[in-house]
């Protein structure tokens, strides 16, 4: 068997970077994102940096994704057993300004790329059917609603719908689950956080206080572990109690 790896998309910042740092204690990683320099930074923060590989790729280019990933696996002579899809673009936009290019870009990065990657990794031809566990970083908006989030929430609800169907289609070989984080301060949300009023309102809505990427990485670690071996097709909400908070 070739050397085994865990692929993380969106590994250049935020939740993806934090997951890489924590998961590097147990797994050999493939760090994927657009910017090579940022991935080098992440790699240097990981345990045993020499064990990890960099796959610099823009996931909005869904046309060439499958062949690029197949080539990457072939050139490095490896197999990928686990996949964490943390890549995402927030796509906050009033309905009045939404157009098809805006929607398609968000859907390609958040949703389409995830399915194409699972397709390659579950293949016998390209990855020796080595895939055994997948975690999608969804969002608690997947089951909720908010102004300006129509495209983003569609992408995350789509991701979770896809997760459930793939969990059935690929069982018992592969377990697939989603983590639904609540809003937390990351590179992706910096524009929203910059608005003091919005930021304060958000902060007061978390019964357990504001979240950190580390909490999401802990949940991912659990879902990839044998301790989650009978869990598949599930949404695990990790949002400090925000979405169950109905107090005014």
């Amino acid at each position: 068997m070739n050397k085994e790896y865990l692929l993380i998309t969106g590994a250049s910042s935020g939740i993806g970077r934090q997951c890489a740092i924590q998961l590097s204690k147990q797994y050999n990683l493939i760090l994927c994102a657009r910017r090579y320099d940022k991935l080098e930074e992440t790699k240097s923060m990981c345990k045993n940096p020499q064990n990890h590989l960099i796959f610099s790729y823009d996931l909005s280019d869904t046309e060439n994704l499958e062949t690029s990933l197949i080539d990457f696996i072939k050139i490095n002579d490896i197999v990928i057993t686990k996949f964490l899809h943390s890549a995402g673009t927030i796509g906050l936009q009033s309905l009045k300004l939404v157009d098809s290019d805006f929607m398609l870009n968000c859907l390609k990065i958040n949703l389409v790329s995830a399915e194409l990657i699972v397709k390659v990794l579950s293949s016998k031809r390209y990855n020796q059917s080595a895939l055994d566990s997948v975690v999608f970083i969804s969002s608690n908006i997947s089951n909720m609603g908010a102004k300006g989030f129509s495209t983003y929430s569609a992408s995350k609800a789509g991701l979770d719908g896809m997760m459930r169907s793939l969990a059935i289609e690929l069982a018992p070989k592969v377990r697939i689950n989603s983590i639904l984080p609540g809003g937390m301060k990351t590179e992706m949300t910096k524009d929203i956080d910059a608005n003091e009023e919005v930021s304060k309102r958000l902060e007061s809505s978390f019964p357990l206080g504001q979240g950190k990427p580390q909490y999401i990485a802990d949940a991912a670690e659990f879902l990839f572990s044998d301790k989650a071996s009978w869990i598949t097709g599930q949404q695990l909400t990790v949002d400090g109690g925000r979405t169950i908070n109905i107090s005014s």
Binding site: S123, K124, R125, E169
Partner: protein, 70 residues
């Protein structure tokens, strides 16, 4: 869709590098109910032909599937 593209699609569905006319469908690990539905969908969409699950099973080999779209 030409027959070459149809063969490529069959190889994708069956998750193998290449297929041959005399390959027996039941011998492929990936030839299951989902594979049958996928083949029916490809034939319907690209060749405007309606075939049943039984038609696919009766085809027995790759050549049998190719005969269905002629």
């Amino acid at each position: 869709m030409d027959i070459k593209k149809f063969e490529e699609n069959l190889a994708d569905i069956l998750d193998v590098n290449e297929i041959h006319d005399d390959d027996v469908l039941e011998k492929f690990d990936e030839f299951d109910s989902l594979a049958i539905l996928s083949i029916i969908s490809i034939i319907g969409t690209n060749f405007s032909k309606t075939v049943s699950i039984q038609d696919i099973k009766n085809a027995k080999t790759i050549k049998g599937l190719k005969d269905l779209v002629k």
